[in-house]
């Protein structure tokens, strides 16, 4: 048997990142002429029902200790199933949890894990020898691509989030679900003891408009006009690492490699130079408007739209213009 896909479930059934992984797995399986099998923690029925798996077998990991998430217990269970099935490649989603469980399982199997892959193909498989795969992985949030090769009896690979467009795999006939109960006594582990759900208002990750500020904003108070612009457009406020490090904004506002990666309809970057670590956080925006005094600033040269000028003048002028027009509309109405 060749490919095993780790499926992650969320409120809607099979998660979006798992659908991306499945797409990659089916592409690979087509190339190899092999079937794809999948594994899910807990409710296999729900995974199968949500459809689109198109796998020949679904393994369900069953154990009372797996009811709540634990990185080590989930990783150990996956490892035990893999030891039994001996797939040559295990694919997992690029979500935080997906990566964590894959790394736990790979560590226990002492097998390689290639994180954030965008492509995978079989290089060669000599009779009896372990297969060699060639993979492309995203480094530094996608700033660089790394072509790599790996040879091992079992290779673990996770897909880079958003690198593969999830295809509709069709609702294949009934998927047979097989239960597997791992042996978990004595496994050293952490326990999830508390979970709180945040109210789902406009967040940096989901906002259609993000108004973001960097060193050019100059101070914490300098963000007031940016906040007002965000409020008027129903957007969220973001910032660069310089703004975080200076204590002007909380780290939860930071856009970039070590902050949040966002893909709004419009990213308004005020006084941000566009260092690569910032760029990888905002490069998936549909459009970028950069406001900067320096016409040569890297972000300005890469942006869709630019305004050359001082944030302290430009942003208040935009806010005034919005007020003028809404007032005008009201008067004419």
């Amino acid at each position: 048997m060749h490919a095993l896909v780790m499926i992650e479930l969320d409120g809607d059934g099979v998660s979006a990142s798992s659908r991306e992984t499945l797409t990659l797995a089916h592409r690979l399986a087509g190339e190899l002429g092999e079937a794809v099998e999948a594994v899910v923690f807990g409710d296999g029925g729900r995974a199968a029902e949500s459809g689109g798996l198109a796998v020949s077998r679904l393994h369900q990991l069953d154990h009372p200790m797996l009811a709540t998430y634990s990185p080590e217990l989930w990783g150990e269970s996956l490892h035990q199933l893999i030891a039994r099935l001996q797939p040559s490649i295990v694919l997992g989603p690029g979500s935080d949890r997906g990566l964590e469980v894959m790394a736990q399982a790979a560590a226990r199997a002492d097998a390689p894990l290639v994180a954030n892959c965008t492509t995978i193909s079989l290089d060669r498989r000599a009779n009896g020898d372990p297969p060699t795969w060639t993979l492309t992985r995203a480094r530094q949030g996608g700033l660089l691509l790394e072509d790599a090769a790996v040879t091992a009896p079992t290779t673990f690979a996770s897909t880079a989030a958003g690198a593969v467009e999830a295809a509709s795999l069709g609702s294949l006939r009934e998927v047979p679900v097989e239960s597997f109960t791992p042996e978990l006594d004595g496994v050293v582990h952490t326990q999830l003891v508390d979970e709180t759900t945040q109210d789902s208002g406009v967040t940096l990750a989901t906002a259609r408009i993000v108004v973001s500020g960097g060193r050019g904003v100059g101070s914490a108070e300098g963000f007031e006009p940016l906040e007002e612009l965000a409020k008027l457009t129903g957007g969220a406020v973001g910032c660069s690492r310089v703004a975080t490090n200076n204590g002007w904004r909380p780290h939860s506002d930071q856009v970039g490699q070590t902050g949040t990666k966002i893909s709004p309809d419009l990213y308004i970057a005020c006084g941000i130079s566009g260092a690569t670590q910032h760029w990888v956080g905002c490069m998936n925006s549909k459009a970028i408007l950069a406001i900067n005094t320096d016409p040569e600033a890297p972000l300005l040269t890469r942006a869709t739209y630019g305004v050359i000028g001082d944030v302290g003048e430009v942003v208040p002028a935009i806010v005034d213009e919005i007020h003028r027009r809404t007032l005008g509309n009201r008067q004419s109405a």
Partner: protein, 256 residues
């Protein structure tokens, strides 16, 4: 509380990385180096925990001899000891890196100090394999949670609580000490080294460990830049005069 923090030497530049002619690596000539932001927060947190609970902070790196600079930076922030696993200029894959680190930790622990907490960055800023910490923790049979942005230690109970943000909200984990943790920037605001700290770091002794390095299984073929659609920036105007054009754009998007 004895705490160990694993840090990696990475390039500090915010510019697009220049690749060596054969694509075998990043051209690091004329570049400044640093410790990744996640790891800087790990060092800061370790210093705070040891400050409150009493104890010592050791920083460990596997890398070329020049990584001494990153150890001394951590010491200037307030860490007590530095240990360098000299892997020379050979590039190790994540399995080999983790094996070298785990071996070094076993050596250090055999010499006396058990580390109550071993800290990692969630992922390194350059290679980003998301696994070295987990592999080390597994090799040493320590519990390990990643992506952590809050740590509470209950020394009397010998337990730690780790808080992390997930898309849906916040999760809190508990583990018995000794444990391991992967942290993210935002955990704290790291301090700048004081003058006194810098002087201390200059004089501090850094212990060297010569590892036995097994060859890894992941081989790099080359690095390359992704294709980027060349954009022609549309300049909407200069200064405050650009405001009407910007608001036109916002109206087009139907957000005002």
């Amino acid at each position: 509380m004895n705490i160990l923090v694993c840090v990696k030497r990475v390039r500090a530049s915010g510019g697009t990385p220049q690749l060596s002619a054969d694509g075998g690596g990043v051209d690091t000539r004329n570049l400044a180096f640093t410790v990744g932001p996640h790891e800087e927060c790990a060092v800061e947190e370790a210093i705070r925990i040891a400050g409150d609970a009493g104890g010592r902070v050791t920083v460990l790196t596997a890398g070329p001899p020049e990584a001494d600079e990153q150890l001394r930076y951590a010491i200037s922030m307030g860490a007590d000891h530095g240990v360098l696993v000299d892997t020379g200029d050979t590039e190790l894959d994540p399995q080999a890196t983790a094996a070298a680190l785990a071996d070094a930790i076993r050596t250090l622990e055999a010499d006396g100090a058990t580390f109550d907490l071993i800290m990692f960055g969630n992922e390194s800023p350059d290679a980003g394999h998301y696994q070295v910490g987990i592999r080390v923790a597994c090799a040493l049979s320590r519990a390990m949670v990643g992506g952590v942005k809050g740590i509470d230690i209950d020394q009397a109970d010998g337990r730690a609580r780790f808080r992390r943000e997930v898309p849906a909200g916040v999760e809190v984990y508990e583990a018995a000490l000794p444990a391991a943790v992967g942290v993210k920037e935002g955990l704290n605001l790291p301090r700048y080294p004081s003058m006194r700290g810098r002087l201390r770091a200059r004089k501090a002794e850094v212990r060297g460990i010569q590892p036995e390095v097994a060859p890894g299984t992941l081989r790099r073929i080359r690095l390359r830049h992704p294709e980027e659609a060349g954009t022609q920036t549309v300049v909407l105007g200069h200064g405050a005069d650009a405001a009407p054009a910007v608001v036109d754009l916002l109206e087009e998007l139907e957000v005002v």
